[in-house]
Symmetry: D2
Subunit: 387 residues, 4 copies
């Protein structure tokens, strides 16, 4: 089944929950063992778009840890993320094959000069593409959220960036080194995290120059998804949101990494970024992200929305969202790989703001309302070459 691979999906953070769930999903979808629930690109409206088939996707990735993918997948079975029937033999075989495509990522403790790192990563990508005879590779960042990077003037233009790297200056956070390597290798880039990644002028310049596409950032899978659907209700009904408070309880690796205040601050910015865009003002109210190990791979959000209506009447809405992060993220990662690959194959270049539907902090657009984003996505997909 995997012989006709045409499109590579390269995960930064390849042994993480999201990457592992995505890989297991790719095999399941290839085999038609799984229904396509959760996949946006499985909606009828995408039937006529020339997207790579699930069976054409080949996975690889950068990673620092060494737990085998099969072990990671088994742990996700135990955690209730993957079906309790366990892993089919075909999945085990595919994950074992995929091990060949994993390469060491960036180890901040290693002291490797940035330019050396980028060249190493670039070669990994080129080698992956050539060895597997792929026409397109999409690099998807699903690594842990970084702390916000201090802005450097060297990122303002490609020329300045090249000079800084030549001088062995440390001006890019790891996520941006990965994006740089992707662009240098002629690969598309998707940032599913709130990390800096490709969101720098120098890298935008490079993507244009190299003729590659990119999209991001920070996958919209839970509380923010609902905010982007509910805030328009208040906006279109002209109801005034006095306070919108949210608490997110999550465990797993995500909970752990977000328990570091600096990393959490990256996430919090993303979570709130769309409210002003939709409402025209920023409602008061805290947003908390808390690590609760007992939640495992699951997360629960509770939001409390105080609003005033006609003649000042005070009212309230509350919601809870009890979701499995990896199960929500993985199909979107597959969607993004397929859509970005199709865009790349169609000769597009640069940022893809039409993919805003998938992101908390969409690059290149201020549209945060979910429904408007979905229409934009559908219209854009319809403009891609037909199957």
């Amino acid at each position: 089944m995997l012989r006709h691979g045409t499109t590579g999906v390269w995960f930064v953070g390849a042994r993480g929950s999201v990457a592992t769930t995505s890989m297991v999903g790719i095999v399941a979808l290839s085999d038609d063992r799984s229904d396509r629930t959760g996949l946006v690109t499985a909606l009828p409206i995408f039937d006529t778009v020339a997207l790579p088939a699930f069976g054409e996707l080949i996975a690889g990735g950068h990673e620092l840890t060494s737990t085998p993918l099969v072990k990671r997948a088994e742990a996700l079975v135990d955690a209730g993320v993957l079906p309790r029937e366990g892993l089919p033999a075909a999945t085990v075989a595919w994950l074992e094959l995929t091990e060949r495509n994993l390469r060491p990522g960036i180890d901040p403790a290693a002291g490797e000069p940035p330019a050396v790192t980028v060249e190493r990563l670039r070669r990994d990508l080129v080698e992956f593409r050539e060895r597997n005879a792929l026409d397109t590779v999409v690099v998807v960042n699903v690594a842990s959220t970084e702390a916000p990077a201090p802005p450097s003037p060297a990122t303002a233009s490609l020329t300045a960036l090249r000079a800084a790297l030549d001088a062995n200056e440390d001006v890019l956070p790891p996520s941006s080194l990965y994006a740089l390597a992707a662009f240098e290798a002629g690969c598309a880039w998707v940032d599913f995290t709130p990390s800096t990644g490709a969101s720098l002028p120098a890298l935008a310049e490079l993507a244009e120059a190299r003729g590659v596409v990119y999209a991001g950032k920070d996958g919209k899978t839970g509380e923010t998804l609902l905010k982007s659907a509910l805030a328009p209700v208040f906006a279109s009904r002209n109801l005034h949101v006095l306070a919108w408070a949210g608490t997110n309880l999550l465990g797993g690796g995500d909970g752990g990494s977000l328990s570091e205040p600096a990393r959490r601050s990256s996430k919090l910015v993303s979570t709130n970024i769309g409210m002003h865009a939709i409402l025209g003002y920023e409602p008061a109210g805290p947003t908390h992200i808390d690590n609760v190990a007992a939640m495992g791979e699951w997360k629960t959000a509770w939001d409390n929305i105080e609003f005033s209506g006609f003649l000042g009447t005070r009212m309230r809405m509350q919601f809870t969202w009890q979701g499995c992060d990896s199960a929500l993220a993985a199909p979107l990662v597959i969607d993004l790989a397929r859509l970005t690959a199709a865009a790349q194959k169609a000769g597009l270049r640069g940022g893809l703001p039409q993919l805003a539907f998938f992101f908390k902090d969409p690059l290149g657009t201020s549209e945060h309302a979910l429904d408007a984003q979905f229409r934009t996505l559908c219209e854009w997909a319809a403009s891609l070459p037909g199957a």
Copy 2:
């Protein structure tokens, strides 16, 4: 301030909470005493539409009970629906003036022949328009929800209907008699309840013939409003809703009348009608409407949504909505009066499916998704004559 009234708003159920709140709101808006929160037509996008100004609106209505409007409004102050500062003198004066415009409605116990009723109601409307020198009158049904009316073949065409009425046959429920009278008087009709009203072929025919517009039905103010914003999230993300259960607790007159099973069944149909349209299937799950007197004019809805995602993972969303029904409904009633009057003045005729945004069971369209309805509304409004 009220001398230049050009547009009449005639309430069926004129002493009810919604009508009273609407009237108090009209005076507050005329005086610029109130901000315009909750009014859709106060959004900037409607600035260029030639809508009647708040100060141009004159109220009247049909009603069976006799509690003075000022007493009703004071009760709404006590119930927390209207501002606790109480009623300004201008409001009291306006409500007292409006008493002159109230006429007896339909008393089912009175045994009045339908044709006589319709002629009586029609004359009330014509007299109201002429005495106040109004160019347009919009009749808005905010009376208690009726039990579902048994379908009669006599309502299939205007000819059949006229023959039945001439024969003194009882083929129309009260709401439809009001709509018939409105059309015969050349008035626009808005049905804010799930009652039959104008939703009969014979009445659609009459509206076309008389050159009047109508819109309906069942104002979308709470749980259904959120359903119509949230169901598209599940649809566009291709998440499968396994069960969507809802409980609505409400008191006040609405709670009381809906505690009759037959009337409640009318409401339940409206509440669920849009889910199939948005999702493409009807999720399992009960919807309850319960009369809880202690809720007063407030209502609380709780919805529990079970859904499955990628690879069959089970997830859940829950929400509560704690709203004041009259405070949510009144601005929409004013919006509908303004928009319908503008459409009538612009020479439109027949049903106005473009107003689906306001309704649980929109006439003439199967679009139930809130955002799509809002776009349709904005586009339509932009096509009306400019101010």
Copy 3:
């Protein structure tokens, strides 16, 4: 491990979810494979009470269906009720052995005369006790909830009951026939359902005469458990509950059987019975029990409590309870079997109101407050013979 069985647990409804989970639990506890979470009798306070050890419990039961216990247990693994690691070999072996102890229950369609039924059931129990050399047998009713039984004068005394049965009159519902057979066989009786069971004067008389104990009824596992802990908060703080509304969504066999209005009415009575006892008045508000097949073995309750405080200030509490019915019920069934067996062995006779802690509708007491019930239980247990 099972050689020293001394105490029988006979399930009416032996292949149901609660019985099956209880059986799997008994083996797990015997093997010390399971921690004792959920078992009240595993609390330190019971350490000195002479309760039968888990390894001494032998199961049997009446049942009409024929799916093997192992299949039922596997289905509960798939449903997430039992651990996903699946059934250990020892559990499978024990369930297979237990098959020998299952006998046909009462088939209402069979037309068997009541006296014949009772004698047949009695012999089953005696045979079970003798064959397994048990000193005590506790019959636990975990069958589907019955519709309320019409009261018959024949149940007012043992003499009248015997006469009616001799005359082949149909005066007892199945649950009471089971209780009658248990008493005639010298077995203790526990009713974990709201069915009539032993709650008839004639049967109370018989239990005294036969020297057997009984307890019930309707296991308190979810919404009612919380009500019995929360209502005392309002009572002791002198806060006035204006309305207490509840919605219960459940699937599984329980959801299915309770979707019949007559059976549901039995359950609803039990659910609300304690509020008046605790608060001194009956708050308004509907309680719904809804069958939502997608919930599977899980249930979700939502309660909304409106209350008034000092100087009339209106406040509100809401809760949701998302539980697995069988996982909540099974340890209590085991607790009740152990406690009832201990009481029987200690020579007690008649009703055991001291077990009210476990029941929605406790027999022989009007104490519904959870904490008071727990104290009573602990004091009573302390009075039983020490280990």
Copy 4:
């Protein structure tokens, strides 16, 4: 009505929301204008206890701000805390009379030596008692929560404390200076806040020496109240709480002062203190207290409780509590004043752990379970001299 005042209630923070609501409540109760909802001492069980009648209570207090009590009360009417009908003339008169009994509190910026402060406060109390011919005065701390005070060795004994004060050392936070003054004046002390107050060995010694009673600390009015009723459910049912997370949204003065991290930390300690005592372990999970100005005098708590049951099954409970802080606190303040005064009159001395029912962090006892606390309270009250 107020001529026979026998008992003084002296508020530290006399113009705050809790004090003002308490004062308005005292007048309403004296006049029998109010029902007694929310007052624990109005339960029948207290009928035979010799508590001071509402009409016998005279108010006074320390305060730094100067907004008249009537203005503060009117603001509470506007905020929906006090009945919307507004303030009766008798209430206005009583509040105006009470102005005479207000004295300047401790101004940390004033640089007044501690010993001078204490003597000034003591004289205020003695003067209040003598001028009003009161036999007993209870000082109740309802001032803003302090930041935690650094522990000083000087507070370990009365001798050390006196030496430090003589040396003009700054070893006591303001709340403890108030408590010290109360004891020196022979007044009882109640701490309704989590501040240090009387909870120091030196002050305990003094209370014994002066023959006065004291109780505290931190009134249990919302989330913690429910925790202390719900944690025993998990404990008595042997269910294991994996994580208990809470978010508290509050506005008003309380929200504002708690938005300072140091003060909030005092509150957070109190909020969680009882869980270990009830459960035997400390469940994971954050507790947040957030200032949301739009909440006004209202607060909303959301708690999410993850627990495991039989055979490891994971379950969940969630609750929300939407309360008005002052309306919950004021009747308890009145209860505490009455009970403490009765204890003082009965000749008791020292700490009153029997009042734990009212407090998050009860002094002198580790009993946190609400129901057990209530029983202790009732038994203790029954031991007080009868009316």
